[in-house]
């Protein structure tokens, strides 16, 4: 009996193992259908923002715009110019809060993740378990008691209330720890220690560059949650509110104007999407370059 020789399939000059052509087709078709379904509402919202008033009340709604108009956005910006605090102040607040909270969260989180994953001091398992279980405690539960703490620390109605609690977020830490566990071998860290490197040096110069995809993923998710958190109920000075909160207020005031409200939400969602796209291109790059490690 002659052994059946398996033919290797080649995709873009690369040999692919164990992939049947039929399976590839089925998967592609499924991806296209699901993708269309997923993206449809987004697409519909975006085109609604460009529809003139007349087209908004066509039934059934068209999937395209006959006469695209910027009027909805112009309405929105006219409303913005009438705000009591200049709009630039809102933008500054948003940028400041997002950057400060994201950076702090990532720095503290990655330092802790590295220590728990590679230094493994006595008691690291207990700390680790506490962190995993704290992931399951929603903000609803801690919310009210946090208020007491904010009061006690005098954090009400300041920037710090939007920034400091984010630094305590365990989500990023846990994700970072998983990346370090999976992506960095103990041998490499040991080698650095034998060469006499200090822990902090190993963390910053050796471990962190290797988990760049984790950093990028975390930047996206942290930024996104900070951005979407919008108006905190504990901040009531107009000067301290974010751009996000301002837009919600403005579109809320616009009331029944569906066009302007949709334009507002398109504007709001475009920011995290831009951050994501820029980041994603970076992720693809780091993936491509880290592929050469073998």
């Amino acid at each position: 009996m002659a052994k059946k020789v398996k033919r290797l399939r080649v995709r873009k000059h690369k040999v692919v193992l164990n992939r049947s052509a039929g399976g590839d087709t089925v998967i592609t078709v499924m991806l296209v259908i699901l993708g269309a379904l997923m993206f449809l509402p987004m697409y519909y919202t975006v085109i609604t923002a460009f529809k003139p008033l007349g087209e908004l009340s066509i039934t059934p709604p068209k999937m395209y715009v006959i006469k695209p108009t910027m009027k909805n956005f112009i309405d929105l910006f006219t409303n913005m110019n009438q705000t009591w605090v200049p709009i630039s102040r809102y933008i500054f607040n948003t940028v400041f809060i997002s950057v400060a909270s994201t950076l702090g969260c990532l720095l503290l989180g990655s330092m802790t993740a590295y220590s728990l994953s590679k230094v493994r001091m006595p008691g690291y398992k207990v700390i680790n378990n506490i962190i995993v279980y704290s992931l399951m405690i929603g903000s609803t539960i801690t919310g009210t008691y946090n208020f007491i703490i904010y009061c006690y620390l005098g954090m009400l109605n300041t920037y710090s209330i939007s920034i400091l609690p984010v630094w305590a977020s365990t989500l990023g830490l846990y994700l970072m720890k998983n990346f370090i566990d999976d992506g960095i071998s103990d041998e490499m860290i040991e080698a650095a220690r034998i060469d006499g490197a200090k822990e902090f040096y190993i963390y910053w110069k050796i471990a962190m560059p290797l988990v760049k995809p984790a950093w990028l993923t975390l930047i996206v998710t942290t930024f996104q949650s900070v951005w979407n958190a919008g108006a905190s109920v504990y901040v009531w000075s107009e000067q301290l509110k974010t751009f996000n909160a301002a837009i919600v207020q403005i579109t809320g005031a616009a009331g029944t104007n569906v066009g302007a409200a949709t334009a507002g939400s398109v504007l709001l969602m475009s920011v995290p999407i831009i951050v994501f796209v820029v980041n994603q291109s970076q992720i693809v790059e780091t993936m491509a370059s880290s592929g050469m490690k073998d």
């Binding site: 709604p61 609690p165 989500l171 999976d182 200090k198 999407i273 994603q280």
Partner: protein, 324 residues
């Protein structure tokens, strides 16, 4: 042989930091020398631990203690033992409704979002880098936009100008517009549908990253060992290699599934018609911020935590069997 007992390998910069064999000393001495050796580690976790203590641990301990009391913020908490928990099951019809709905939502959206996230991440992983970035964007975009509720309010508007109503009428499936978010028949399935729709969040991204991290050599070794198709490959090679990412995804899905409620509040208002989509999350918020019965609310929170904790243990056990 004392050197076989060396637990951690060397770090010979200072004499005092030399690893020590466990046999020569008592347990406590060993732990103390280990603590000394890993001092840098403690230093590195300190800033985070302070934040964590202040903003998470203290509130949780407070909530834990208060769940056995009756507390309204103005008077000093009064110890009532297990009264809150007894009241929850015997004297609160709405709690039972909330519990039932939460279980319905959790058991559908939890596994569905987890499996969908993984399957899509796995499919996407096969694409070329450029196509991967684009497809990731398409699937991730609905979850990323905080304005998800605006989108669905637009799509499922109750009048004939809404997208779903307009097309259903055009196709002749219905004769008059449905008030989707005010109709008891539609709310629950619609909420499940929408939450799955927007559920491709952080676990989806981490799955993609985790899949990228699997060593290519493993696949080749697998092929040599006689793996025949992609389904065997995903079970025997891919999944075992990204277990920690799977754990992460599971924790996220469980948390979101049992904490279900935010999207209902945004779309249907609170309470939803005839409490038909009333969940534990709503019940908790109601007692926290409307009725100010913090003791009882804390008891509900504790109950939710126990639910999540148990299901996390169960899922842990299931994930341990992956790849066998």
């Amino acid at each position: 042989m004392s050197d076989t007992a060396v637990k951690k390998s060397t770090k010979p910069e200072k004499k005092s930091k030399q690893p020590v064999s466990k046999k020569d000393m008592t347990r406590w001495q060993y732990i103390r020398s280990e603590m000394k050796r890993t001092r840098a580690g403690y230093l590195m976790i300190t800033p985070f631990m302070i934040m964590f203590l202040v903003f998470t641990v203290i509130p949780v301990i407070l909530s834990l203690l208060l769940s056995f009391t009756s507390f309204n913020m103005f008077q000093f908490p009064k110890w009532v033992g297990f009264d809150n928990f007894i009241r929850m099951f015997l004297d609160d019809d709405l709690f039972i409704t909330a519990f039932k709905n939460t279980m319905i939502f959790a058991l559908t959206t939890g596994p569905a979002s987890f499996i969908l996230s993984f399957i899509l991440a796995w499919f996407i992983n096969e694409l070329s880098p450029k196509a991967r970035a684009l497809v990731t964007f398409i699937f991730y975009a609905p979850g990323i936009s905080g304005g998800a509720h605006t989108i669905f309010l637009l799509v499922f508007r109750g009048d004939i100008y809404g997208f779903a109503n307009g097309w259903l009428m055009k196709l002749g499936l219905i004769s008059e517009p449905i008030l989707f978010f005010q109709n008891e028949t539609y709310i629950v399935p619609l909420m499940i549908f929408i939450s799955i729709w927007t559920s491709l969040g952080i676990s989806f991204l981490s799955f993609i990253a985790g899949l990228q991290g699997v060593d290519r050599a493993q696949y080749e070794a697998g092929a040599v060992d006689g793996i025949k198709n992609r389904w065997q490959e995903v079970w025997f090679v891919t999944l075992p290699n990204m277990k920690s990412m799977l754990m992460f995804g599971a924790v996220m899905s469980i948390t979101n599934a049992f904490g279900f409620g935010a999207i209902v509040t945004l779309l249907c208002g609170t309470p939803s018609v005839n409490y038909c989509a009333w969940t534990l999350n709503h019940h908790l918020t109601e007692y926290m911020s409307t009725r100010f019965e913090f003791g009882y609310a804390s008891a509900i929170a504790l109950f939710m935590f126990i639910l999540m904790f148990t299901s996390n243990r169960l899922v842990n056990k299931m994930l341990a069997k992956v790849g066998q």
